[in-house]
């Protein structure tokens, strides 16, 4: 049985991240959560993750500000933007900054899990190649 994909959910909405962690767990993924940029960076420095689900609009540092710091701490991790803030400009800016994809809340669970698996498989394929 392959190792479960390790996902870090970074979101300031308490209920959103706790339920998402349970749902991802039920889908066979290993998930943990952080309420903001600083906590996420501390967790990434502490243990390995494959995919980060990153919110954009958060108190303190925004997702746009945290993204380059995540890439500096964990260069191999894939970052998926998951936000309710609909802005093509921000999406383009964050994908240019290294994010793998941009998903808009509310995102159907199967679509979200499919996207997480897809970026994980791509990362593995690139790593193997």
């Amino acid at each position: 049985m392959p190792d479960p994909i390790r996902v870090l959910v970074v979101d300031d909405e308490d209920r959103f991240r706790t339920t998402l962690v349970k749902l991802l767990g039920a889908q066979g993924l290993f998930a943990e959560a952080a309420s903001g940029g600083e906590q996420a960076l501390a967790l990434l420095a502490e243990k390995p993750f494959d995919v980060v689900l990153l919110d954009v609009k958060m108190p303190g540092e925004s997702g746009q500000e945290v993204l380059p710091r995540i890439k500096a701490v964990a260069p191999g991790v894939e970052v998926l933007i998951l936000t309710g803030h609909a802005s093509v400009d921000i999406a383009a800016e964050m994908i240019a900054g290294g994010a793998a994809d941009y998903l808009l809340k509310p995102c159907p669970l199967d679509e979200l899990v499919g996207c997480v698996r897809a970026v994980y498989d791509r990362r593995k394929a690139v790593g193997a190649g």
Binding site: E13, T19, G84, H85, K105, P106
Partner: protein
Amino acid sequence: MKAETPRADPASAAGEPASPPAGKNRPLWLHLVGLPGVTAVAVLSAMVLPIPLAVILALFTASLAAWSAAALASRIRTSEQERCSLDAQLVQSQKLAAIGEMSAGIAHEINNPMAIIAQESDWMTHLMSQPQVTPENLAELRDSLAEIVRQVDRCKAITHNLLNFSRKMDPILQQEHLERIMEDMVLLVEKEAKLQGVSIVRDYDPELAAIQTDVPLLRQVVLNLLLNAFQAIPGQGTITVSTRPAGADRVAIAVADTGAGILPENMSKIFNPFFTTKPPGVGTGLGLSMCHGIVDRLGGAITVESEPGRGAKFTVTLPR
């Protein structure tokens, strides 16, 4: 630092100016230098020329002056028309920018509770697909249902605030003392403020006469400003409420706090709908924009002064 009602950046909003109409590029020096020059030459020549020639010269100079005046008047009219057209374009651009910003704000505020509702539904589906419904699962199902109701209420609060925001209500004017309006709202928040270590200082002008205003609408403004000030103070602090005359035909009320203040980059956005620095679910970013809308309807103006770390002061000026 002082910020008036926020406006879109005129430089970016105005767009490219229209190209000048044909004939407008005629040099201005012809009027400003040429005409006085010709007049001076004519006056000097009239001193030495015979009278008939001097009269002809005077008539020619007068015709030239009349033509110049007509040309200048036409140019001023054209410039005025162009200015009006650019003003209209600017207003339109500002409206579009405000609608765009507001749409993004609504999307964000509604998408977040919707995402939680969708997740709770998914989790309930997952729990109900289990072969056995345990007491723990049943408790989780109840918790998820309660969360869905909470998030629906959150959406409802946003849409209801928006409806209040957009409703066009003609103010119903009545005579009332500003101090009375302020004090009614101060008493509402003072008890809670005291419990949190925030004291309210009154600085009312006792000489200020009653004004004609829409009392319920102005109460709403004062309450929003007080709550905003209260929430801006992280620990202990002071809110100062004041009334004073503002010139011969206006009065001013102010709510000042000793809170965190407003960052310079946020000053121009502070009255924008959905702009908030509060955590999710705490502020919708509609309070100050509603204040701005109400004050505007009452024929007044709202301004804010702030230094980061040294509190903020909101001042509302109103007609007497």
